[in-house]
């Protein structure tokens, strides 16, 4: 059981590419725009263009493509189930019926709906993973903090929220390691996690989470005390060691984004949606 190996979300691969050198604010804004565009994309042509663009970005960053996709592996069964559900259960009037059995009908509309959902999940996952793979958590949160700062004016404690995120991200790996330790301890006591049917397996996993949660609360309590001891009193009056600067690469990125975004919007408007 190697749980930490398959977690790529929140992992950072240091590098010196122009993608790595972008201001985190540029990356956050670009990723957000991409996600919105992907959510309104409904045609195969639109996804093909996005695939080209994302492929271009990954190549530019030097991140191994296999690595970027590894985190998908544990999600594959869920995606497959979602796809089958859409294929058989999505109903649309006057659509081709491929296959009919009892009350189930595999329709063309269902097929396209299934594909659309899978494509969206794939792209959302790839874009967010790519963002965290090329941006350290620290610069990511610095960027977020800087972007969200205006929200203070309307009473949203943006700095504190970002601090919470910083800590949560640091603890993801610790908790994954801890989970692994607990599972190994249970295995040493003779619990066979890999045997039995789905329900039996689930029942064996359950007692693992209780110690994990208790441990997490204890950690949180200790962390609060330690932060207190280091004079943390919230965002007010805090200064930062690093300040952010936009440069030439950021302009180039904006230009690339405008070209891609423009083309994609054109495709979205003028091509036939898949469903």
């Amino acid at each position: 059981m190697e749980l930490t190996k398959n977690i790529t979300l929140g992992v950072y691969l240091p590098g010196k590419s122009s993608i790595h050198n972008l201001d985190p604010r540029t990356k956050i804004i670009t990723a957000t725009i991409m996600i919105v565009l992907l959510l309104i994309s409904r045609s195969y042509a639109a996804f093909a263009l996005s695939a080209l663009f994302v492929g271009f970005l990954i190549t530019l960053s030097g991140v191994p493509a296999g690595y970027a996709m590894r985190g998908l592996k544990p999600m594959l069964p869920v995606l497959a189930i979602m796809w089958v559900f859409q294929l058989f259960l999505f109903k649309a009037p006057d659509t081709t019926i491929y296959f009919h059995w009892w009350i189930f009908e595999a329709t063309a509309a269902g097929l396209h709906m299934g594909n659309l959902i899978i494509l969206r999940v794939l792209f959302l996952f790839t874009v967010t993973t790519f963002l965290t793979l090329t941006t350290s958590v620290v610069s990511l949160t610095d960027g977020l903090e800087s972007l969200l700062k205006p929200l203070r004016a309307i009473g949203i404690p943006s700095q504190e929220l970002v601090m919470t995120l910083v800590i949560a991200l640091r603890f993801v790996l610790i908790l994954a390691e801890e989970l692994e330790k607990i599972i190994k301890a249970q295995m040493a006591r003779g619990v066979a996690f890999d045997r039995g049917n789905f329900i039996q397996k689930t029942r064996k996993i359950f007692p693992v989470f209780l110690p994990l949660f208790i441990g997490a609360f204890k950690r949180a309590e200790e962390l609060i005390v330690a932060m207190d001891a280091r004079s943390y009193t919230g965002g007010k009056g805090r200064t930062k060691m690093k300040t952010l600067h936009m440069g030439r690469v950021d302009l180039e990125a904006a230009a690339a984004m405008i070209v891609y975004g423009g083309l994609l919007i054109y495709i979205i408007i003028f091509t036939e949606p898949m469903i």
């Binding site: 950072y12 240091p14 350290s136 958590v137 620290v138 910083v166 800590i167 991200l169 640091r170 790996l173 610790i174 390691e177 950690r219 200790e222 962390l223 005390v225 330690a226 932060m227 207190d228 001891a229 280091r230 004079s231 943390y232 009193t233 009056g237 805090r238 200064t239 930062k240 060691m241 300040t243």
Partner: protein
């Protein structure tokens, strides 16, 4: 000598007023002197951590008082000043590091103090250098050994330039090497940077490197003095449930065998010197 911390009849109850009230501190009178290296030992539950948490106002006295350079922790307005004077390092490094990058974590304290950017950078560099962590500055903490993580935690406190650093069992989770390195750092900060050190520990091998020690039992201070003086009182040490340092155990054994070993040996180095003289 000048007193940095002084308690007077300090008493503290956990869950006061409930049925399972615990009297964790029982009228403690003690002081920490500026520039010294003080250790506090005692069995589990003897109240060491509870006392230490009063030093930087994480806990407020139930009865009695505690003054940090004349400032009372009971006064809300002094707390930020007190936390600048007294830094604190805890047992588990994983639960005190905030950031996913070493240098950012060390900057956390100075950032909280609202220092100017240039000053923060200087302090982070200084803390990294003082603890020999320069090579690790861009590393994420989960790539470090437990000992290195604890050094980072110490650096994070050091960067706030406190006058005193309180370490609550900083070596409890470490292997012998990590333990030695943390101990060396503590000694160096005391000798070279003049920082007052308060070390809570169960290891007598660490206690003997301190100028002075306190032994706690049942929330009260049972013994006080230099390690030489305290370990002379064998009966009391045993009743407090403590061990003797290895060097004094060996010295005692040799004495029983008829060797002429001078009294009050607590440090291994002293024992070695003594044995060498015996040989010549």
């Amino acid at each position: 000598m000048h007193k940095l911390i002084e308690t007077n009849g300090l008493t503290y109850y956990y869950r006061k007023g409930t049925r399972d009230e615990v009297k964790a501190l029982d009228s403690v009178n003690m002081a920490v002197y500026k520039g010294e290296m003080l250790s506090i030992t005692g069995q589990n539950g003897s109240g060491k951590s509870t006392l230490a948490r009063h030093f930087n106002a994480l806990l407020k006295p139930g009865q009695g008082s505690i003054l940090i350079k004349g400032l009372s922790t009971a006064n809300k307005d002094s707390i930020s000043e007190i936390r600048k004077i007294i830094g604190m390092v805890f047992q588990n490094p994983d639960n005190q590091l905030v950031s996913s990058i070493v240098e950012e974590d060390i900057a956390f304290g100075p950032e909280n103090l609202g220092l100017p950017q240039a000053e923060i950078i200087d302090r982070v560099d200084w803390a990294l250098e003082t603890l020999n962590l320069e090579d690790l500055r861009r590393e994420p903490p989960h790539n470090l050994s437990e000992g290195q993580k604890q050094q980072v935690a110490i650096a994070g406190v050091l960067a706030m330039k406190p006058e005193c650093i309180v370490l609550d069992e900083p070596t409890a989770h470490l292997d012998p090497r990590g333990r030695r390195e943390v101990m060396e750092s503590a000694i160096r900060l005391n000798r070279e940077e003049g920082i007052t050190i308060v070390l809570l520990t169960h290891f007598m091998s660490e206690v003997v490197h301190c100028d002075r020690m306190l032994v706690m039992e049942g929330g009260a201070i049972k013994m006080e003095g230099s390690p030489e003086k305290v370990f002379r009182q064998s009966a009391e040490i045993k009743s407090a449930g403590l061990d003797f340092p290895v060097a004094s155990q060996v010295a005692e054994g040799l004495r029983r065998e008829g060797f002429k070993i001078k009294p009050d040996i607590v440090r291994t180095e002293e024992l070695i010197d003594c044995l060498c003289q015996l040989k010549s």
